[in-house]
Amino acid sequence: MATASHVVSQPRSSMLGARIREAGWGYGFVVVPIVVFGLFFVYPFGYALYISFFHWGILGKQSGGAGTFNYAKVIHDPVFHTAVKNVLEYTVGVVPLTMALGLSLALVINQKIHGRNFFRSAFYFPSIASSVAITTIALYIFNANGLFNHIIGSRTPWFQNAPTVMWAIVGLNSWTSAGTAMLYYLAALQSIPTDVYEAAAVDNTGAWRTFWKITFPLLRPAHFFILVVFGIGALKLFDQAFIVSNGLGGPNYSTYTPVFYIYRTAFTTFDFGLAASAGVVLFVIIFALTLVQRLTVGRQEAS
């Protein structure tokens, strides 16, 4: 009460002063983040578009615009086609496999078993370990004379062989990221009300049937979320493709991905204009997918 009368009795100019002071501190607190975001996110967004319409080399912009030259070149470049084909194959392989593995792990962890926290951590750990180190270990285990071939009795150099390398990366990355999918599925499983299962138990429904008729459909939002998040991540494949091919994209372009194409175009052929336009094309694809996710999730929440 005392404070209230104190505030009321203050002259108006001082209240205005307090508001200006608060605003001043507010701007002061956000100025560095805003400058960083403006300079390294918002401005580059426009700058990338700008560069994509010029012939832009190691020495900078060349005189005269390029029009849509770079876009036409990217869209008709057989190497870019190969990169897109590779990453689509990879995505179609890795996303369902990661989801299936993640869901299986989540179902196991969700049981009342001893040491579930331990197993949960063990399955999750590869997700946060260095991608370079994990890929290096995979190169060792899957080399022609390595542990894996020793077990299955083969001599295939999985990561040095054009027909197998992308599938080897599919296997590697679904193993690595299954733990993340598991955590998302666990959260979703734990949000399913138990009375649904009690009803199924009363009806004497078998475990297998309960899973397919009740659990699996109820996980739909989780399926969709994981599909989009991992799908976008898969389209950006770079580290593993770079490491297994010694940064060259081989053998015979089999490890080229769109991001790898951008990297090579910029830093081997120094064609920044072309690289920027490939970046824009990739962004449009990813942005469209994100929009689909936002819109669908929004609709689900509304209904």
């Binding site: 608060e22 983040p33 975001f37 946060i128 542990l147 959260a187 990739l282 999730v297």
Partner: protein, 290 residues
């Protein structure tokens, strides 16, 4: 009638219990098998790092003989000391900057009133949508023009604060009751002092999560160090770049490569074991937010 029901129930219960035991044994078997799949690669890498080069070609889990020569070589000959120092330096600086600036910005967006706040916050959220692959070329061109390629300041500058971290801090500050700040104000504390002495300590759980996730992110980062330091002086290599280089140049030196991989993984394993719940809750809350 009643007796029959009881008898039926009696024979029914043991059968269910037996089924339950079978089910449990089955689950433990499956989970142990899967866990093996997750442990064996790491154990195999660890033991290979203590092998001699000829012995690394043998598919065995016990080195014969044991040697630390792989570790010794990467430490003395391949300069992993420098790579570790560089990675620790970058991870610490980037993490501290992100906590301070993300906290400061997050606090202002959560609590202080200033014209244009909502608009600026929209801009912050918008940056989450700009992928690295799009800003790669322009950022590289800008840093080249400013002569910030091949040294640490360029990397630190573009990673000073991320929108995700600022957003994360803001969401946490929104959950803290306003009483604390009002008390501080009555004591005559200014805005910065309130933030630094009251709000930041209260946000310790959020800061812990952020420290762990950001340190791990920077330590594991391969893309930007490759772009900014990859073409130049190995004195600026991070651990990930150094390991990749070792791979490319000496791809058959398995004991050295395995030792290098262990070094690249170990600090994150240590942090993970100490702070598991922050990792796991961080992932899940990010997932729920979408």
């Amino acid at each position: 009638m009643t007796l029959q029901t009881v008898a039926a129930a009696e024979s029914f219960i043991p059968r269910r219990a037996r089924a339950e035991v079978t089910r449990r044994v089955f689950f433990y078997a499956v989970i142990a098998l899967v866990a093996l799949l997750f442990f064996v690669p790491f154990i195999y890498t660890l033991t290979t790092s203590f092998k001699t080069l000829p012995d690394a070609a043998n598919v065995t889990f016990i080195p014969h003989p044991w040697t630390t020569s792989g570790w010794h070589t990467i430490w003395t000959q391949y300069d992993f000391k420098t790579y570790i120092k560089n990675s620790v330096f970058l991870a610490v600086v980037v993490t501290v900057c992100n906590i301070f600036l993300g906290g400061l910005g997050g606090y202002a967006f959560a609590r202080l009133k200033f014209p244009g706040r909502e608009l600026l916050f929209l801009l912050v959220l918008g940056t989450i949508m700009v992928p690295d692959q799009l800003r790669l070329i322009p950022v590289f061109v800008m840093l080249t023009n400013w002569h910030l390629i091949g040294n640490f300041s360029g990397y630190i500058l573009i990673n000073l604060v991320t929108a995700t971290n600022l957003f994360f801090m803001r969401q946490y500050f929104l959950t803290i009751p306003k009483d604390f700040e009002e008390a501080a104000k009555l004591d005559g504390a200014g805005y910065f002092k309130t933030f630094w002495r009251i709000m930041l300590p209260l946000a310790l759980p959020a800061i812990s999560a952020l420290v762990i996730l950001q340190f791990q992110g920077t330590w594991n980062d391969f893309f930007w160090p490759l772009i900014l330091f990859g073409q130049g002086n190995p004195a600026h290599y991070t651990i990930q770049l150094g390991l990749a280089e070792l791979n490319f140049q000496y791809g058959v030196l398995w004991p050295e490569i395995c030792a290098g991989s262990i070094i690249a993984i170990l600090p994150i394993l240590a942090i993970f074991l100490a702070f598991q719940r922050y990792f796991i809750s961080g992932v899940v809350s990010a997932g729920v937010k979408g």
